[in-house]
Symmetry: C2
Subunit: 256 residues, 2 copies
């Protein structure tokens, strides 16, 4: 259960000039709608938003962000991929910020279908990944996560907080009232993530590669867009599980 | 080049009570925005719309549809998958029609992120596919097309016109002025489809299965959401090419 005072968010890392913030949750479940988690990184007074979400969340996320930083100090918005729950609010965000948007080059020509979008402010991340600069000194790493599930997808690693934002990877679907901020016990958590990962992730050929790349970064936390944050033993257990998972086209006989 | 009189659409099949209509194209390319093709099936005076598209196309597609059928006779809307260029107009379409929306069960909980959506009107297509009934007698077949590219995706076969709507499969990206309604020469067309299929389709394990299923249906045409319509020798050549294609995770070393 997420405590009342955490509904409005929680600072996952803070060192005086740099913070990594989970922006909280909806107070009540909206039945039949997947819950999402948004994050904000602030570095020396400038902000970057991670997967700020769809149209229907816009007003709540704006309110959450404004508790930590003025909206006009958001310099960048990172979209892990093109799904409606991730990026359908793009036209609204471009309207109230001066931020640049970063997304896989595969989706550049698709985003304008969400509405009026100034394409000069949407910048492509190349397939092999790149560094994403925010403010005077912060350099984030875009980690390839293609086909997990989107063909063009990135995770984002913050080397200061040592937190990896993983988008849909590691996502859990909880029963109402069962939500926690951190994964407490991976063996138990597995039941909330198995079905999703087996069906949406495209193949062990990519989950294995992603886990190898993530282990090399030695993150302290993995923060997904749905569910709960991994750290400590749960993080190691999660990577071991995912790198051995058979999923997607490995199981194609089940879906065709 | 698409002739001036075809910008407003073209009837691909018509037998007096049943028609399969391509709804035309945008008069001018919008730079940096992927072009899309919408289709309308009319059976005994009732309609079904296929991938009617995103917010920015809404007014043009409504106008195109209204040339052939009254909007209030649209009973169903089929979404091949969850991408913005396919389905981000859902809230607008639900607003002006009484139609039910059909999409893979994998995306049911994601669509509300496009805006205000009445979830009771959005119906799931199970993984193995199903029949989709329109009007008194028409039965369309949902053909599994998972991971091509979306993890939950369907093509739609109309047994009366013998046309298969294939969504992103077979999609071409043309240079301005190079558009044609039908693929004239597959050997030449290949250059417009190779890059997209190699990078977005998840694996030969699924393209092969889809091609086998499509061959069993013996369609006269394959109509994609972008590009040009396949028929005759070009259709056979396309299936042969796609069923042998190495793509997506088969080439993961190129992207990770």
């Amino acid at each position: 259960m997420i405590r009342e005072e955490e509904v409005n968010g929680r600072v996952l890392y803070e060192n005086g000039t740099h913070s990594f913030i989970w922006l909280g949750t909806e107070g009540k479940y909206r039945k039949g709608v997947i819950q999402t988690m948004q994050y904000l990184i602030i570095d020396n007074g400038r902000g970057i938003l991670l997967d700020p979400g769809g149209v229907h969340l816009f007003s709540r996320v704006v309110a959450s962000v404004s508790r930590y930083i003025s909206i006009d100090k958001i310099d960048a918005i990172f979209f892990s991929h093109q799904d409606p729950d991730v990026s359908s609010g793009i036209a609204l965000w471009l309207g109230i910020t001066q931020a640049k948007v970063y997304i896989s080059e595969l989706w550049l020509r698709f985003l304008p279908h969400f509405g009026i979008v100034d394409s000069t402010r949407v910048l492509p991340i190349p397939d092999r990944g790149s560094k994403l600069k925010v403010g005077p000194s912060l350099e984030l790493t875009c980690v390839p996560a293609h086909f997990m599930h989107s063909p063009g997808q990135f995770s984002l690693y913050d080397p200061v907080s040592r937190i990896l934002f993983s988008g849909d990877i590691g996502a859990a679907v909880f029963e109402e009232g069962e939500e926690t901020v951190f994964v407490e016990d991976f063996a138990r958590h597995k039941a909330s993530i198995s079905g999703f990962h087996e069906r949406y992730m495209a193949s062990n050929a990519v989950t294995r590669r992603w886990c190898d790349a993530v282990r090399r970064l030695k993150p302290d936390m993995i923060a997904p867009q749905h569910g709960a944050v991994y750290r400590g033993q749960a993080l190691a257990d999660f990577l071991d599980w995912l790198s051995a998972l058979r999923c997607g086209v490995d199981l194609a006989d089940q879906y065709f």
